[in-house]
């Protein structure tokens, strides 16, 4: 079955390595992702904070275009975009007046029937069955799987088995030969969209996450959201100031980690474009078992 793909704006900008590594892994496994033609921004936090109709209409346009393209399932790797698309879809299918209003705004028919996949669902359904043939290296280090908010909650949309202590990403990392740790900040918020307007808050919230991961012996933090990655990586100087100590724990996307275990080069996976160096983790690959 065809798999539609919605990159969203971050994956073309600050979170480019998420998209690069996802495509590298998909290519390795012989899976083709079909980008939605002419997709637009989901509106993110700004639209739902300021204008409810806009927060449904923007994702709805993308959903309508996917329908026009005949895509019955769409992968949305960005956690924030996933949240907005899934929320909009829920409103469209649960309220006929809303669906009509939005369809009228867009001047396009829309059903909202496509299945929207999280990155975890995509990995489970499409990569897991063939992963064995492609995994050639063990990552050989302790990792903290950080899920953040929008891939965990609300559970009606994210469909996680245990939203307070999810294991979906832990399973991926185990498969890649890493050792996922048990820790307390798996699903806490990093400060998300306040990154620019209230950097102080982001530093506080993200510092708690980094501090807990490090104190429990993690050597990397693995994420599946470009906002989480940016806050924990780009904001590290502010985080270090907040913790009053220096931490050099790298923050990778789950697809980068998986790609490493498949023997894809660090460069192709975008592991050289982080602010906190990923060198130490890359050098763990294939080293003697812990």
């Amino acid at each position: 079955m065809r798999i539609g793909y919605y990159p969203g704006c971050s994956l073309q900008g600050s979170g480019k390595e998420y998209s690069d590594s996802l495509f590298a892994v998909a290519e390795k496994c012989g899976i083709v992702l079909e980008e939605i033609n002419d997709w637009n921004c989901c509106g993110a936090s700004a639209a739902h904070a300021l204008n409810h109709d806009l927060s449904v209409a923007l994702p709805a346009r993308t959903l309508a275009l996917a329908e026009k393209q005949g895509l019955e399932q769409i992968l949305v790797p960005c956690a924030a975009c996933f949240g907005r698309l899934a929320n909009a879809q829920q409103e469209l299918v649960s309220s006929e007046p809303m669906r009509e209003k939005i369809s009228d705004y867009l001047d396009m028919p829309i059903k909202g029937s496509a299945r929207i996949l999280t990155v975890f669902e995509f990995l489970q359904e499409h990569i897991f069955p063939v992963a064995d043939q492609h995994i050639v290296n063990k990552l050989n280090h302790k990792t903290a799987c950080y899920y953040g908010c929008l891939l965990s909650r609300p559970k009606e949309l994210t469909r996680l088995e245990h939203p307070e202590d999810p294991m979906e990403m832990d399973k991926v990392m185990e498969m890649a030969g890493a050792i996922p740790i048990d820790w307390a900040f798996k699903t806490e918020c990093c400060g998300a969209g306040l990154s620019v307007s209230r950097t102080d808050i982001v530093a506080k919230l993200s510092a708690k996450i980094v501090e807990d991961a490090v104190s429990r012996g993690a050597e990397s933090i693995v994420v599946a959201c470009p906002m989480c990655q940016m806050n924990l990586d780009l904001r590290r100087p502010e985080i270090n100031r907040q913790m009053d100590k220096k931490s050099d724990i790298p923050v990778m996307f789950v697809t980068q980690a998986l790609g490493l275990s498949m023997g894809i080069s660090a460069d192709k996976l975008g592991l050289n474009s982080h602010f906190v160096s990923t060198g130490k983790v890359v050098s763990c690959v294939g080293r003697k078992e812990l």
Partner: protein
């Protein structure tokens, strides 16, 4: 406490919220789980459970206090409150409505102005191109907030790492998105 609005036939803020969001404010019995789990409770001037209690009272002074609070702007919509609420009160959706109402009544707390400026800069960027360009957003926000130097040191390395693009990404026909904004904003 006299409920003047309820008697005058004007909608109270609680009624407006319930009209806009699929939620029954009255069902909150103040267990406080929302506030206990809120990652921003330390920063807020009104706690999430207080906002619900004050809405229940349908008292005009409380309504003004809610709409001028910083809490409604600090809420990150992380959904922790809603996912732990025994009564399934959709607080994040209530917060969205309260922000919009706070703008409508011109009651935005001055301390929240930069958060609002950022949201506006974000939407203006989307209205222009249909896609968000982080460089355009950053420049636009800096001009609005006059906070010109913050983050300046990150820009060159972000450009170098290919994380910022100088040429803006756009949808095929940006006027289609402009028209959509116009229709919705009336």
């Amino acid at each position: 406490m006299e409920n003047t609005q309820a008697h005058s036939g004007e909608l109270t803020l609680k009624q407006m919220v319930e009209h806009a969001v699929d939620v029954e404010i009255q069902t909150c019995y103040q267990c406080g789980k929302c506030t206990a789990g809120c990652p921003l409770n330390e920063e807020m001037d009104l706690m999430p459970n207080q906002i619900l209690r004050m809405l229940q009272a349908e008292y005009p002074d409380y309504e003004k206090e809610i709409l001028t609070s910083t809490s409604i702007w600090l809420c990150l919509a992380c959904d922790t409150c809603y996912s732990r609420c025994p009564q399934e009160v959709k607080l994040p959706n209530i917060m969205d409505f309260l922000r919009q109402e706070s703008i409508r009544r011109n009651l935005v707390n001055p301390k929240a102005k930069n958060i609002l400026r950022f949201h506006r800069a974000f939407l203006d960027e989307v209205e222009r191109n249909g896609k968000l360009n982080e460089l355009g957003l950053t420049i636009d926000y800096k001009l609005r907030s006059m906070d010109l130097f913050q983050d300046l040191q990150n820009a060159p390395s972000m450009l170098f790492k290919g994380k910022l693009s100088i040429i803006p990404h756009k949808v095929q026909n940006p006027s289609e998105i402009k028209k959509l904004f116009k229709k919705i904003n009336g």
